[in-house]
């Protein structure tokens, strides 16, 4: 009896993870694409030295952060994939989505400074699932940071 319940619950979680996970993914990706289009004019650069430093008016550190959770289905797919090795497509989309969102948040905070450019962009990823004290589905924090630059208006 207990075994049946456990089995039913597992299948329920897997299907739920698959359905809701897919739905979340799609909604979020659409929102990301929309905002990326809107902020297309913001120049992103990860070189250290700012071009034309003479006409810089404002410079400020900007950060974008996103903590991402894997869903139950993805966690299951990951464990299966780990048996045979190879590329983990489900996790690739997860990380890519998180990183794009982090960049967008960084850009949004740059816009608050009135900036038109972000330089010296750096990314950092850290696994914080150990914060739970147990091993489970991935919880990954991604941050993107850089220096927002606002130029002096041309006279």
């Amino acid at each position: 009896m207990g075994l049946v319940i456990a089995l039913v619950l597992t299948v329920l979680f897997l299907v739920g993870g698959l359905l809701f996970g897919r739905m979340n993914d799609r909604k979020h990706l659409a929102s990301i694409a929309r905002r990326e289009e809107r902020y297309r004019d913001i120049r992103l650069d990860n070189r250290k030295r700012v071009d034309m430093p003479e006409d810089v008016e404002v410079c400020a550190l900007v950060i974008g952060q996103y903590v991402s959770a894997s869903d139950y289905f993805k966690a299951f797919a990951t464990r299966l994939r780990a048996l045979v090795g190879g590329e983990m497509n489900s996790m690739i989309t997860l990380m890519e989505r998180a990183r794009r969102e982090a960049v967008l948040r960084m850009v949004e905070s740059a816009l608050k400074h009135g900036a038109t450019e972000v330089w010296n962009i750096r990314f950092e990823t850290s696994n914080i699932s150990q914060m739970n004290g147990k091993r489970g589905a991935a919880q990954v924090e991604i941050i993107a940071y850089g220096t927002a630059i606002k130029r002096k208006a041309v006279a």
Partner: protein, 104 residues
């Protein structure tokens, strides 16, 4: 105070380098957030509670770094870097470091 992660402050001259400044914080989350995050793991997506927590913690680490720079009499902190690490169960360390400088 100007805080940037480029090697120099664009458009300004660095006249004096005052040295490394750093700030850190170690944060634990409360159980409620943890449980919510556990549920969220079923369907995936953003863990908003953690994003907020880490955002606030990172701001605190940055502020501590800026305080240290202020004590040195700095005008700016350049080349700022961040790191995050899960050090023990239930806690994360956020660390910010950079170089305090005086501007001309």
């Amino acid at each position: 105070m100007i805080v940037v992660n480029t090697e120099e402050v664009p458009g300004r001259q660095i006249t004096q380098v005052l040295g490394l400044v750093q700030g850190n914080t170690i944060r634990a989350k409360h159980a409620g957030r943890d449980i919510m995050a556990g549920f969220k793991n079923l369907v995936g997506g953003e863990l908003k509670g953690y994003t907020e927590l880490l955002t606030e913690s990172r701001r605190q680490a940055t502020e501590r770094m800026m305080q240290q720079a202020q004590q040195l009499g700095a005008d700016a902190v350049v080349n700022v870097r961040f790191t995050t690490s899960a050090i023990t169960g239930g806690a994360a360390e956020l660390y910010a470091y950079g170089t305090a400088v005086k501007l001309g």
